[in-house]
């Protein structure tokens, strides 16, 4: 290696068995200012979201726009405050055992808009070196580290180091953003629609780069996307969100193979295929997602669900196990004894 030793990553405390990130009951409500005569309203952006991220895995988060994916990412990064809930990193509660400053080293994020997320007035080398300098690395050392990282993300440092963001392509910029995230030696990287804005061919290159970097640096990813094919390719486990809530989660093969929640089924059915013998047969779900200012009571999907019954609008379904592999869904049809006519003991298939 070189004399520019990267910042030491935070120590692995709990070992393999302990989840790298535990999120419990994460809730974020945005107040919306009412006018003079109507009371304040709240947007239920993220509501009681709980999940775990195991060390070394990639967790995908999918859902349509406005479902709270990006808000979740920003909450995890502590770029905004949450109303309630716990975020625990490697056994340490953030804000208590783990300082916010150390959290920045532990967790980094790559944003969707590769151009907006780079300062147009800094060379890309300076952009990458900014984080390490903030954490006390000498300027010259940070510069060498930045050049090192440029090489690691496949950009020749002598060609790119002194360029400005507008002088390079979208794919190259996203590589720079990835290098910037890695400059602090994080163990968890949140990729918020990180490849969504790229051309398909460039997207594939960047995805492969992400896979390689994960192996090289022993990273853990949270991969947020609306592109189900990409999520399938990169994720070990997946989380399906609808209107600020987790409706289904589990190993990707299990969720994709046997989706239990009607929303997941609709999402997967809406996925365009390139196989002419396997055309999309089912009709897509209709309508727009309801307004998160006043989300539907009980099951939030009941206004669009083809299988809606009385129980769906009166009792909120809880995440319950479907298989033994950790596959869970929040649907009365998947919960035995829920009172839904399609609940397991009567008719499991739909």
């Amino acid at each position: 290696m070189t004399d520019a030793a990267p910042l030491a990553p935070l120590e692995d405390l709990g070992g393999e068995a302990q989840a790298l990130l535990t999120v419990r009951g994460l809730t974020k409500h945005f107040p919306v200012r009412g006018d003079l005569f109507s009371p304040r309203k709240t947007v239920h952006a993220v509501d009681d979201v709980s999940f775990e991220v195991i060390k070394g895995e990639t967790v995908g988060i999918v859902g349509e726009s406005g479902c709270g994916k990006s808000t979740t990412a920003r909450l995890l990064m502590h770029l905004m405050d949450y109303n309630s809930g716990d975020i625990i990193y490697d056994g340490m509660k953030i804000g208590r055992e783990l300082s916010l400053r150390d959290l920045r080293r532990a967790m980094q994020m790559v944003f969707q808009d590769s151009y907006a997320s780079l300062n147009p007035r800094l060379t890309i080398e300076d952009s990458i070196a900014f984080g390490p300098k903030v954490h006390g690395m000498a300027a010259a050392e940070a510069q060498t580290l930045a050049r090192d990282l440029l090489g690691k993300v496949g950009l020749r440092p002598e060609t790119f180091a002194n360029r400005y963001p507008h002088e390079i392509s979208g794919g190259q910029r996203q590589r720079v953003n990835i290098a910037r995230a890695l400059a602090l030696s994080p163990r968890l990287v949140i990729l918020d629609e990180a490849v969504s804005a790229l051309d398909k061919s460039v997207e594939a290159q960047v995805l492969n780069l992400l896979v390689n970097l994960k192996r090289e640096f022993g990273l853990t990813y949270i991969f947020i996307s609306h592109d189900l094919n990409v999520v399938r390719y990169i994720s070990d486990r997946v989380l399906v969100m609808y209107l600020g809530q987790v409706v289904e989660l589990g190993p990707i093969d299990s969720v994709w193979g046997e989706p239990a929640h009607p929303y997941t089924r609709a999402l997967l059915a809406a996925m365009p295929t390139s196989d002419p013998d396997n055309r999309t047969q089912t009709a897509p779900i209709t309508g727009d997602p309801p307004n998160p200012i006043d989300p539907p009571k009980a099951c939030r999907f009941h206004t669009r669900c083809p299988f809606v019954e009385q129980v769906c609008s009166t009792v909120a379904p809880k995440l319950s196990n479907i298989g033994t592999d950790g596959h869970q869904a929040a649907c009365h049809m998947a919960t035995a004894g829920s009172g839904h006519s399609r609940a397991p003991q009567q008719d499991a298939t739909a």
């Binding site: 990064m77 944003f111 440092p157 180091a161």
Partner: protein
């Protein structure tokens, strides 16, 4: 270490790129119009600064027999004013006070207004409301009225008129600074900087300032001409410069009685104000496009 980044190591880590401001300077020098404006401004500034050593006539020495001579009169290159004083000398000496009352209030207001606007725009929320609503109070008064009121309260004198003009310009610059800051603040790179653990001051210095200063600077330079006119208005009311003193705005006012007798000479102080303000405007325009390194 992958092979691809090997050559980078031969480059000493210290050789930084020429830097953002060096790039801006180089681009500005390539813009002929900006360079011309800079030269004109520099000439006026240096002439005003070194006026006593330029061998000019006494700007206070009048004569009843040679009043309002036209331009080109021997010994009086730019003619004489309504009291027979040499216009060239008065214009050069007048630059001292005019540039002072034109530039200094804007400069002071630029510093104060940018600071306030940056804070209001970056902090948002309650602090923004407090700062911006306070600023709004000042917008309730026309700037001339406000300048007169403050100047009158403080008493006559050049220093006091500089103070009052500064107070007049602070709200305007704060308003612009706040809106530009709010726009930049919501960009992802500021979020990314926060996500890297940088404190607010570092983010302001490294990420906000460079992206915010350009538009504010352009707006502020546009205020220089306004400042010179307002200052002359104050002088006219006896709140700023006192009559024998040469100052462009004041000269414009006293020469207005001679506008029918010798319109060209009467217009000269106005030409100076016009030249200085248009040069400042064009220069700041050039600077703005030089700072926008995307083109």
């Amino acid at each position: 270490m992958s092979a691809i980044s090997e050559p980078a190591l031969q480059v000493p880590a210290k050789t930084k790129s020429s830097g953002y401001w060096a790039t801006v300077g180089r681009r500005l020098l390539r813009d002929k119009l900006s360079v011309l404006c800079a030269v004109i401004l520099l000439t006026i500034l240096l002439a005003a600064l070194f006026a006593p050593w330029l061998g000019l006539a006494d700007p206070y020495q009048g004569s009843m027999i040679r009043r309002l001579r036209p331009i080109g009169t021997p010994n009086y290159l730019l003619g004489t004013d309504e009291l027979g004083r040499d216009m060239l000398a008065r214009l050069v000496y007048g630059g001292r006070l005019s540039l002072l009352t034109g530039i200094l209030p804007v400069f002071l207001a630029f510093i104060a207004g940018t600071t306030l606007g940056l804070i209001a725009g970056y902090a948002g929320g309650k602090l923004n409301t407090i700062i911006m609503r306070t600023v709004d109070v000042f917008f309730a008064f026309p700037s001339v009225l406000l300048a007169i009121a403050i100047s009158g309260a403080l008493g006559a004198g050049i220093l006091n008129s500089v103070v009052s003009l500064t107070i007049v310009f602070i709200p305007q610059i704060t308003r612009v600074a706040e809106s530009v800051t709010t726009g930049v603040r919501n960009r992802d790179f500021v979020e990314a900087a926060r996500a890297s653990g940088a404190d607010t001051l570092t983010i302001m210095r490294v990420h906000m300032l460079g992206n915010v200063l350009g538009p504010i600077f352009v707006y502020a330079t546009g205020l220089i001409s306004v400042s010179m006119i307002l200052a002359s208005g104050l002088s006219f009311l006896g709140l700023g410069t006192k009559p024998p003193e040469p100052e462009w705005g004041l000269m414009l006012n006293t020469l207005r009685t001679a506008i029918y007798a010798n319109p060209v000479v009467a217009a000269l102080p106005g030409v100076m104000i016009f030249a200085v303000s248009i040069c400042f405007n064009l220069l700041s325009d050039g600077l703005r496009s030089a700072m926008d390194i995307r083109n």
